[in-house]
């Protein structure tokens, strides 16, 4: 009985499992964007091939996929029609009337009206007020006429329904679905009151539109994959990673497909969270550096920080999501000179094609990866485990050309490129953490992704953080996250009431309803009742504010629990915003309930059981600024290092999925779990 985790990324599809030998096994195969299921099966094949695993042993497959995100990024979702209240057809198109780029005369609209342009958005009579009372009854005939028009005339493949205050009273939306189902039994319908029953019509309309947009493709994909896997070996059960960082059954995922948005990044952060737990570190920043971007996330008290103000392509998604900030800084970041000859790195990226100059795909621009080759960080013959043979001459040529224009030798230019990239990442890490009320100096830094462990040391020094964690397999962190993520369900509802005037019976009724639903849903997924944990939170704010903070609340809710939640809110407000207003009235906007079924951690043997001597493979010339020159540096096979070993910099650690650089003045320690911890020598920050 073996569980595997499969993460489809933009470039690679990763798979991992833990076998009886208590070892984490992994494989990487190229992604197959046109035919994602084939990629999943090829990943399983690769794992079987490299580990000699018997297919029939695989019982579960936990999965994160780009299916939803790709549909959005490439604009290849379904033809969506939208029903709204009459007079509010353009909520999706008007948005918040703001812009993200302040100085740009040629900017494009920033709302996702491409999903459903006005011709397929139809308003129908029917109105509910802020208390949920029906002001105007639903025009049922109008609904039927609109649905016919959308399907028969416009060929709509999925329908999004978003009425005002449906989070207070969903009856009009539900009735609409019934009418449409009566006419078109197979048409997918997304109701805003199902997708996310919370206040603020524009973000809710966005989310509902996206839900409909990815519904047919998402459902087709998951059902097909489920079917293929069920017939595979002895039959494999499929689980899906959701944007909040918990696993779900396919049945639930197809009901709310929007929850699959950003499932890959969520899996990566959950992987990081568990690595932190394994080394006993509860508060850290994880930075996953890939080819085009660095994804920054925050883990505090051992839990990845979630947000309900997530975004995709800048569009708001009021969905519980792992809080990830992405910046255009990665291995493929292009180096360029501005019109005055100033050095710049990124945010444009050479991506995978043509990729860095050293990739041999015809790229000529120097990138950060080319600089890493020039500096001697990367072994041209062992990049991605030897799968990609780098062309060092092309790297030197590209970096040398930049250096020449700056009056710098190639090594200095390459080092300069890294300094600029590190400065950009450090600045963003600092802002990301400070904005959320945490000082980076109190935190550790976990580096993941193929390019992350090259940057850990300089970032540690630049930010004065406590130390760096390099996971066992930084390039497989998302797949690992899938293996160890918990099963989670969540429910939320806007109530919008003052905390001074809470109707406890009503709140507890709401929570009890969510609790029943959550337990039932988890039960249907085969979780025994005794293993289900329930957590409730409330989104609170000061009356008059338009932003909330989520704090836990004890159930059943009574005056004591409410008071405790309000005081937790004051504290959270002080931490995040620098002050609190203890005398000011507060209100509850949303009530949220989450059910969790813990996934047992696979036992992974300690590398300490291996007793290989720490002998370097070779010595390689690597450039370090501390020395101002190339230094003959020992290069180790990362997996041959025994637990407890302390390696002073300079050193380079190679493994199939990444390269770790230990800079002079820092020490790398091999933790019994096999993860690496890097700190300043002598404990100095």
């Amino acid at each position: 009985m073996i569980k595997v985790g499969v993460d489809i990324g933009g470039t690679f599809t990763d798979i991992v499992c833990v076998r009886d030998d208590r070892t984490l096994h992994g494989a990487k195969v190229p992604s197959t964007p046109e035919e994602l299921i084939r990629g999943v099966l090829e990943a399983v094949d690769a794992l079987v091939e490299t580990t000699g695993l018997d297919r029939a042993e695989i019982s579960e497959l936990a999965h994160s996929s780009t299916i939803a995100t790709n549909a959005i990024l490439e604009g290849k979702g379904a033809r969506v029609g939208m029903l709204t209240n009459k007079g509010f057809e353009d909520v999706l198109e008007i948005g918040k009337q703001n812009r993200s780029r302040l100085y740009d005369l040629f900017l494009d609209p920033e709302t996702p009206s491409f999903i459903a342009p006005r011709r397929v958005r139809i308003g129908v009579d029917g109105r509910v007020d802020a208390e949920g009372r029906v002001v105007t009854p639903l025009d049922e005939a109008g609904v039927a006429t609109a649905a016919r028009h959308l399907v028969d005339r416009h060929g709509v493949e999925a329908l999004a329904v978003c009425y005002l205050f449906s989070f207070r009273n969903p009856e009009h939306e539900r009735r609409t679905r019934d009418i449409v189902r009566g006419l078109y039994p197979t048409l997918g319908v997304s109701l805003s009151s199902d997708v996310m029953p919370v206040a603020r019509e524009y973000p809710r309309a966005c989310l509902t539109a996206f839900d409909a947009y990815i519904r047919p493709a998402g459902e087709t994909y998951l059902r097909a994959l489920e079917k293929v896997l069920a017939g595979y070996g002895a039959g494999i059960r499929l689980q899906i990673m959701l944007s909040r960082g918990g696993l779900s059954s396919v049945d639930r995922a197809v009901r709310r497909p929007a929850m699959m948005i950003a499932s890959g990044p969520a899996a990566g952060v959950i992987g990081a969270q568990v690595v932190g737990d394994e080394v006993g570190i509860a508060d850290f920043v994880s930075v996953d550096v890939g080819g085009t971007s660095a994804d920054i996330a925050l883990v505090t008290d051992g839990r990845a920080r979630r947000t309900t103000e997530g975004r995709i392509k800048g569009y708001p998604l009021p969905l519980p999501m792992v809080d990830v900030v992405s910046i255009g800084a990665g291995g493929g970041s292009i180096v360029w000179l501005d019109s005055d000859g100033g050095l710049r790195v990124g945010p444009q990226s050479a991506g995978a094609r043509p990729g860095p100059a050293c990739y041999r795909h015809g790229g000529v621009d120097a990138t950060a990866t080319d600089a890493s080759v020039v500096l001697g960080y990367l072994n041209p013959d062992y990049f991605a485990g030897g799968r990609v043979r780098l062309d060092p001459e092309a790297a030197w040529r590209a970096v040398g050309a930049i250096g020449e224009r700056l009056g710098l030798a190639p090594a200095q230019a390459a080092h300069g490129i890294h300094r600029v990239l590190n400065a950009r990442m450090a600045d963003q890490i600092k802002l990301m953490t400070l904005l959320r009320g945490h000082d980076p100096r109190d935190l550790w830094l976990l580096v993941a992704g193929g390019a992350g462990p090259i940057h850990g040391g300089p970032l540690l020094r630049e930010l004065g953080m406590r130390g760096v964690i390099v996971p066992r397999t930084p390039g497989l962190i998302a797949a690992y996250g899938l293996l160890v993520a918990d099963v989670e369900h969540d429910h939320a509802q806007t109530v919008h009431i003052p905390t001074m005037a809470v109707d406890y019976e009503a709140i507890n009724g709401l929570v009890a309803g969510f609790d029943d639903a959550g337990r039932r849903e988890l039960g249907e997924e085969g979780v025994p009742a005794g293993e289900i944990e329930m957590r409730a939170t409330v989104d609170l704010r000061y009356v008059g504010q338009s932003y909330e903070l989520e704090v836990p609340i004890e159930c059943p809710v009574g005056p004591g629990a409410m008071e405790a939640a309000v005081s937790a809110f004051h504290e959270a407000h002080a931490r995040v915003y620098g002050h609190s207003m203890a005398e000011d009235p507060t209100e509850i906007l949303n009530v949220r309930v989450t059910h969790v079924a813990r996934t047992p951690r696979p036992a992974i043997g300690s590398d300490g059981e291996r007793r290989a001597p720490a002998k370097p493979r070779v010595h390689r010339d690597v450039y370090f600024a501390e020395a101002g020159d190339y230094v003959a540096t020992p290069v180790f096979d990362r997996h041959a290092l025994p637990a407890g070993l302390e390696l002073p910099g300079p050193a380079v650690l190679e493994q199939r999925d990444t390269t770790t650089v230990v800079v002079p003045g820092q020490v790398c320690r091999v933790h019994p779990t096999g993860h690496l911890l890097i700190s300043q020598a002598g404990g100095a920050r």
Partner: protein
């Protein structure tokens, strides 16, 4: 002066920008008021001792561009040589470097080994600064003294010791002292963050490297900007535009005239010919006026230029004394935001002459502020609900304008209908794009919106501050003007009244207020717009069905919604002949105000 290597220079640029951004974050985070926390009406930046901005936070253009002028005045009154660590200074006097009274600037010196290296500044729009009405933006003010507490450059902290006299005075002169002092402390917190971070960089890289980097980055921005400006043909480009009125003399339009001279890489604007100062609060002093010049220089030059004040060294400005853009004390100034937007339109028009094919048509040209205030008849509690609204942007030489967005000095969110209705006795009856409001053109102006509020109970006073109800946003290069803004009150008994752009009105339960926000101007001859796109515009509600024929000479088959090629071609030929070939005019303000 040492030469800083290119890598260090780029690292420094990033560091300065990150410090400014962290200050900006601290400013917003640690402030108390809704205006600052949610309206983001605040900005923080690092300056040289010569009051040149080294780096600024990501704040709205209208705020950031005016800050240097207050910093400059503080540094003139309190020379840097005499500032000491732990000092802080503040001011808001519009006639001594300020903007309008609610914008208060705090300046903190950064002292390293007894030398002031730089200063950091934070400006916030205080939610109240006293004066005749709550919120301190009285639309009917006729002199500065009615607008609130006037603060000349003053010392707020002396080596860490607060000026309690000044604080006591402020507390007694504002309506919400807790919030105001909270915001002031937020400004000081931003200063403390800037000081700590900047000194950290000095410790790490050394004073000389940091100071040399600043100078080199400013020089670089200047060189790059000048290089961009040199590409513009030399000449003087003149344009005029209008405010509806000053809120007091409702029938008198107010003219703003600017002559933009580009000579080599120098950029000069002369406002000679602008109308005299007005009685109402729309007068605009130096800082908020030059802000628009700075924004436009930035908009027309290379976007990769480091964002510091080196980029503005070539800007010169002349403003006639006693005019709308250089009023004499104590003319009221609180509503100068409306004037700033029109100044921006005037600069834009002049630049459209200088840079044909690169400048968009006029935007809707207003940030409308509506506030409803009443007393809840059930609870007896007073309530106030306010909202800012924008219209469409002007069409661009290569694409349509954007609906309901501003690309100029402002950037503020609307209020969700579900928040308005939950919090106040109002119901929103409709909120959708205003079909046909965008000016016709080869590229169409962005649409404004229509929003209708109904008062559900009691009485409410509506304070309405807008503009562009009279002179429409101009179309460019043959494009037609956008629809001007309009507001209408529909009384319960059926009577309707078109209300002026500025004024205070009373609603009773059942009365409705309809807002129509303006469209952006069109770009290029509408007869050149692709008939297929015109047909799509009809289908997608961007234009009304009849406008296809009247504005674009496109005949759309009502059944297939597709254009009829033969009839369209015929109609377009007739229309072109009637208009005498391609349009000969550059600007179009509609039949009432003409073309030029």
């Amino acid at each position: 002066m040492i030469a800083v290597d290119p890598v260090t220079l780029e690292v420094m640029r990033n560091k300065f920008e990150a410090i400014a951004e962290e200050m900006q974050t601290a400013l917003i985070r640690s402030s108390y008021s809704v205006v600052v926390k949610e309206g983001k009406d605040a900005s923080a930046a690092i300056f040289t001792r010569g009051a040149e901005m080294i780096a600024g936070g990501i704040a709205v253009p209208g705020q950031l561009g005016q800050l240097y002028h207050s910093v400059k005045r503080i540094l003139e009154v309190f020379p840097a040589e005499r500032m000491r660590d732990g000092d802080a200074y503040l001011m808001n006097d519009p006639y001594d470097g300020g903007t309008h009274l609610p914008d208060v600037t705090v300046v903190t010196p950064i002292v390293y080994r007894n030398e002031v290296l730089t200063v950091v500044a934070a400006q916030s729009h205080w939610q109240d600064i006293g004066g005749k009405t709550a919120g301190s933006i009285p639309t009917d003010a006729t002199e500065l003294f009615q607008e609130g507490l006037i603060l000349p450059p003053l010392q707020l902290y002396d080596q860490g010791r607060a000026n309690e006299t000044l604080l006591a005075l402020i507390r007694k002169n504002v309506r919400i002292p807790k919030v105001v002092i909270g915001d002031l402390m937020g400004q000081c917190a931003a200063g403390a963050v800037g000081r700590r971070r900047f000194l950290g960089v000095v410790e790490e890289y050394g004073r000389d490297t940091v100071m040399a980097s600043i100078e080199q980055l400013l020089d670089r921005a200047e060189r790059m900007t000048r290089r961009s400006l040199e590409e513009i043909p030399d000449g003087t480009y003149v344009f005029e535009d209008y405010l509806d009125n000053d809120g007091i003399d409702l029938d008198r339009r107010v003219k703003i005239r600017a002559a933009v001279t580009i000579e080599g890489s120098d950029f000069h604007v002369d406002f000679a010919g602008t109308d005299p100062q007005v009685r109402g609060p729309f007068n605009c002093v130096w800082g908020p006026t030059i802000t628009e010049l700075r924004m436009w220089v930035r908009l027309i030059t290379d976007p990769s230029i480091p964002q510091n004040d080196g980029a503005f060294r070539m800007i010169g400005m002349t403003t006639p004394e006693g005019s709308l853009v250089n009023p004499r004390h104590p003319a009221p100034v609180n509503a100068r935001g409306t004037t700033m937007i029109r100044i921006s339109d005037v600069i834009q028009g002049a630049l459209a002459r200088a840079l044909p094919g690169r400048i968009p048509a006029a935007p809707s040209g207003n940030l409308q502020h509506i506030s409803f205030g009443g007393v809840d008849p059930l609870t007896g509690r007073p309530w106030v609900c306010s909202e800012f609204s924008v219209g469409g942007t002007g069409a661009r030489p290569t694409k349509d304008g954007v609906d309901v967005m501003d690309m100029g000095i402002t950037n503020i969110d609307n209020v969700p209908v579900e928040m308005t209705e939950r919090g106040y006795p109002l119901r929103v009856l409709r909120f959708h794009l205003w079909s046909g409001s965008g000016g016709a053109g080869r590229f169409r102006g962005g649409c404004g919106f229509v929003k209708t509020y109904e008062l559900l109970s009691g009485q409410a006073v509506v304070s309405h501050r807008g503009d562009r109800h009279m002179v429409p946003p101009w179309g460019l290069a043959g494009g037609r003007p956008g629809r001007p803004w309009q507001s209408v009150i529909e009384y319960r008994e059926g009577r309707t009244e078109v209300i002026p752009s500025k004024g205070v009105f009373t609603l009773r339960a059942g009365d409705r207020l309809h807002l129509y926000t303006g469209g952006g101007g069109g770009y290029g001859d509408p007869l050149d717009r692709s008939p297929a796109r015109v047909a799509e515009d009809v289908l997608d509600g961007k234009i009304l069905a009849e406008q296809a024929e009247t504005d674009y000479a496109v005949v759309v088959d009502p059944r297939t919604h597709a254009p009829d090629p033969a009839r369209t071609q015929r109609l377009r030929a007739e229309r072109r002949q009637a208009q005498g070939g391609a349009p000969s005019w550059t600007f179009d303000r509609g039949p009432e105000f003409g073309r030029e």
